[in-house]
Subunit: 249 residues, 2 copies
DNA sequence: ATATGCGTTTGATCTCGATCAAGGAAGATC
DNA sequence: GATCTTCCTTGATCGAGATCAAACGCATAT
């Protein structure tokens, strides 16, 4: 970086790095980025493959580069609940913890960008900014988990499906910054089973509700699992949430 | 502290401090404790009183000294879901965030120990250990929220009630370190409505399931809202979870 | 004593989503 | 091209929990 670079926070984005959206000084922290770059490795998993089991020792942390992974939890009799959806740029792993609390499973073909956890932690120990960023990200995840508790505990099947589509649409939009024209389009990578596990429903109910939304013209399913939402506000109406602020974020 | 105090981490507990269970060096960090002591204030709320509204600017952080508070979320049409139960020693507030995401409501008469948020944050900025501890606590809350997602999405009414009792019993036991003799005893402060909001049920279903557990001798309700669990393992059996390790933690 | 109010319990009935069952669509594999 | 296999859809039926309704226990107020 040129001499005389100002000591001012800048917001950078790096989908391949566990610490994304860094709002720290790029000048004094650039060496962190470089070190992260040096130690990173990529790994790809097939759909359905378990990336890590709950309770397992997990020597890596990282982030999703491409594809979708699920955090899920299973009761002794096999009932399963997804407790987190990991989309591109999401953090994977538990800094400062030896083991995972939940299974991590690839929902689609997925590529992760991984770092050795102890090396990452040593870096964290040297740089309080990274720990601060980790805290921010964890608070965001906690908020998302709690929003999901409202969905699981109090929403109807119809509202659950609509909410899922709203969330997927928003996540896709913030990733691609595409300007909506004749409505929104986004890919629905995950299977009916994954949706059911996420929403606390059965696949039959998921299928029926999607059919119903389709019959009412709220969504259209195209090729390659693309979903087209002609009127996003109408979909939000079905989600049970406040339509605060209208479209997208 | 005597001269020659060793530079060794000790685990201390301070129910009145937001940073509880500190596993840091008591020698070099004692000034943090002292500063926390200096700026703390107490405040008591009546049952049902709203401590803070979602979206509100919250200039304080702190922790529960005595009583129970609820974090809850409400849909536009009034359906409510509790997304967190704040028991004595739990942290309240969002360090580094301007506003709250959820309502904070006193479930019982409750006493909080509060700190000015910006003063607290200034302290956090000076001491990376505190931020580290905050991250740990937030990760714990995230795990708890995700456990609860499994309950909300996949457990039956019976299992939900049993799980709640198991959690309350464990929380009480870890607070009082009472040795179980003829089973466990703990106070059930919250109303049927609060339980229903927590479990994603109606008060009628909560009442019926509690009556059923009582008829089967799994729990007994005594005076002053005390619950007696003659055989904790049998209660865990009803919760749907693995009976891993048996009694208590 | 009676009234008022709140939390709780219990009963009767209904409904939404689960369960059981069958068939269809689109790739893979041979 | 035929046959799996996997995922998805749709129909018929069932049942757990919601809803509607009434009454009880217990406190405080009148």
């Amino acid at each position: 970086m040129a001499a005389g670079a100002t000591h001012r926070p800048v917001r950078t984005r790096c989908a391949d790095c566990p610490i994304r959206h860094r709002a720290v000084c790029s000048h004094c922290e650039s060496q962190d980025f470089e070190e992260l770059e040096r130690i990173k490795t990529y790994r790809t998993y097939a759909p359905g493959e378990t990336i890590a089991w709950a309770g397992e020792h997990m020597p890596l942390v990282g982030s999703v580069v491409d594809g979708v992974a699920m955090l899920s939890s299973t009761l002794p009799d096999g009932r399963r609940q997804m407790v987190g959806l990991l989309l591109p740029s999401d953090f994977v792993g538990r800094p400062g913890r030896a083991t995972l609390s939940f299974d991590v499973v690839a929902a689609t073909k997925i590529t992760l960008c991984m770092f050795n956890k102890s090396e990452f932690e040593r870096m964290v120990g040297r740089s309080p900014h990274i720990e601060h960023r980790l805290l921010e990200m964890t608070l965001d995840e906690l908020d998302a988990a709690r929003e999901w508790m409202l969905l699981l505990g109090r929403k109807t099947a119809r509202e659950k499906i609509a909410s899922l589509f709203v969330i997927m649409a928003r996540r896709d939009a913030e990733l691609h910054r595409n300007v909506p024209q004749d409505g929104l389009r986004f890919p629905l990578h995950i299977t009916r089973e994954a949706m059911a596990d996420y929403l606390g429903l059965t696949i039959e109910t998921v299928s029926r509700q999607i059919s119903a939304l389709r019959r009412q013209g709220l969504i259209e399913l195209g090729d390659n699992r693309m979903v087209h939402v002609p009127d996003f506000a109408k979909l939000i109406d079905q989600s049970g949430d406040d339509a605060d602020g209208g479209v997208l974020i």
